[in-house]
């Protein structure tokens, strides 16, 4: 059976490179100041979708909600082998929490039409909430399997998935459609294919083409031109998806950052121990004296 998958991917700030200057006073992150990377779990999700397609046939569509910069992420999806990619973008989508994000993504998925599976990474490294997957599944009224570590089989409209639970694992059988969030261990993302990279590196989103066009007419011409070569990345705005202003972005987000405090660690001062046998020996003597060991 052919298996059509939609993969929800996200470009995230590289959290291994955080410094104090990237925080805004309101506690949100100034993403522009951080290098942006493919969220690691999402890359694994894409890999799993591609492996299923390679085995059973079908189509893999990657979608992301993000700013203009996310065009690069979608090109990377194409280089890995995604058949189609979509950018969901609008200035009103900014500041979205997981509820507003899942609503926006669910509207995009409804517009894409039919699918067998939706994949997402377990969580994104910039928030670690692991909420958008299940929230999207709820909005679409479909079942979910979170923390998937292996897809065991797919046949006759049923999928068999091994997932992690506290202290063990379970094997679940589900009907389709289904949303799956995947653990990093589930697969090793394939490298970019050189041939796809060469042929698809010129793929552009609407936002990217806007910068090259001097008039709306020219933009439409550019889009038609790119589309005819298979290089246009469809770009959907809030209006394209029929999303109400009050349900997206910061407006549609119930969670608010009320205050942010720098933690002044209780710097009462500590005892400096020299990194020598004598220094450490003295420390051990006092700890042994206080019965810390044994």
């Amino acid at each position: 059976m052919a298996c059509n998958s939609i993969v929800m991917v996200k470009q995230v700030p590289d959290t291994s490179n955080i410094s104090g200057e990237v925080m805004r006073p309101d506690g949100t992150v100034n993403r522009a100041k951080l290098p942006a990377v493919f969220n690691p779990d999402d890359k694994v999700a894409l890999e799993l979708a591609l492996e299923l397609r390679d085995r059973f046939g079908g189509k893999v569509t990657a979608i992301t909600m993000g700013p203009a910069k996310a065009g690069e992420l979608l090109r990377e999806c194409l280089y890995m082998g995604a058949d189609e990619v979509y950018l969901i973008t609008d200035r009103n989508f900014g500041g979205a929490d997981t509820l507003a994000t899942s609503y926006t993504l669910s509207k995009a998925i409804e517009k894409l039409g039919s699918y067998d599976l939706i994949f997402a990474g377990r969580q994104a490294i910039d928030g670690d909430t692991a909420q958008v997957g299940p929230q999207t599944a709820e909005k679409l009224h479909i079942p979910q399997i979170t923390y998937a570590e292996k897809i065991i089989d797919l046949k006759a409209g049923k999928i068999l998935v091994k997932r992690r639970i506290d202290g063990g694992y379970e094997i679940l059988e589900s009907s389709l459609p289904l949303l799956i969030t995947v653990l990093k261990e589930a697969a090793t993302p394939r490298p970019f294919k050189a041939r796809r990279l060469m042929s698809l590196k010129k793929a552009r989103t609407r936002l990217e083409l806007e910068k090259e066009a001097s008039s709306p007419e020219e933009l439409e011409k550019l889009i038609a031109d790119y589309a005819s070569k298979g290089l246009y990345i469809p770009t959907w705005s809030r209006e394209d998806l029929g999303i109400e202003l009050e349900r997206c972005g910061i407006e549609g987000s119930p969670t608010k950052v009320h205050k942010v405090e720098s933690v002044v660690l209780s710097s009462e001062g500590h005892e400096q121990i020299p990194p020598t046998a004598e220094g450490i020996g003295n420390l051990l003597d006092s700890l042994i004296g206080e019965h810390f060991f044994g």
Binding site: Q135, D166, S175, P254, K256, H270, I273, I280, L283, F292
Partner: protein
Amino acid sequence: MDNGSREVWVFIEHHSGRPADVSLELLTKGRKLAEKLRGPLKGILIGHEVDAVAKEAFRFGADELLVVEHPDLRDYRTLPYSRILCELVEERQPRVILYGATFIGRDLAPRIASNSASGLTADCTDLQIGDVTWKKQQYQDLLLQIRPAFGGNIVATIITPDAKVQMATVREGVMEMVPLEAPCDGKITKILYEPKAADQLVRIVERHREEKRSNLKGASIVVAGGYGVGSKKTFDMLRELAAVIGAEIAGSRAAVDAGFISREQQVGQTGLTVRPKLYIACGISGAIQHVAGMQDANRIIAINSDPDAPIFDVCHYGIVGDVASVISIFTETYKKKLK
């Protein structure tokens, strides 16, 4: 958007007829929140043959349990559980719902939040009730959801002022677990479960589960390594030290990501919270996410090559130097003292 309710709910997770520790911890916390809200603390208990679990929930302070019992509900499955809870929330409108940040809680809570358009804050390290002025409006008795924020040593207070129901998840071990001094049996309200076709879309074929064997949570000495340990080889030196001094081994998230140690042994906001007598932090920079999981240790020794690492601000003893050589001296010196 105050819904007028003063009810605090705790989703009670259970395995093999026992409530999960995290649920008892949340009941302990929930008692304080409910008291502040001047409302009842209610436990949501879904399962089959859960009498013993109910008893424990009362012992930890639940005033009332909403019990949904059915053979089909013996093991957690997303769809029946989330549907049942969504319906209960819709019908009864609690003010606060707390979930353990477990595999189950993190699978379930987002569906309820999505369905009821509530806010949901993951991995809170503290919860309080307080009055807030937000955008020039006064809000009374909001749930203050406190958690370290992304990047830097920063703690954020999250609120959901316009949501009817306020929800949070909390990791196991973060809150204290204290039974009532004089426990009394609360009220059990049985809720009828009506199976629906959609509940059967996902079937459990096989399940394998062992009670956690990790001794880390209750360990009296913990040796923890961070990314600064540098290599698996040096991390093995920490394991040796731990074996010699009778400690449990742990790691920071960066050490887990680097493959030095398993995720089950991660200490910090997204891992375990530990309260040992002695915590030896090796090559750990001291981000707030890590400190949140170990700051209650009685005594902290920090070993780091960077004299400006924030870990030195929380430690009692600081050793500036190369982790491998300091650990080697530490282990050898301790062995000599034993003789």
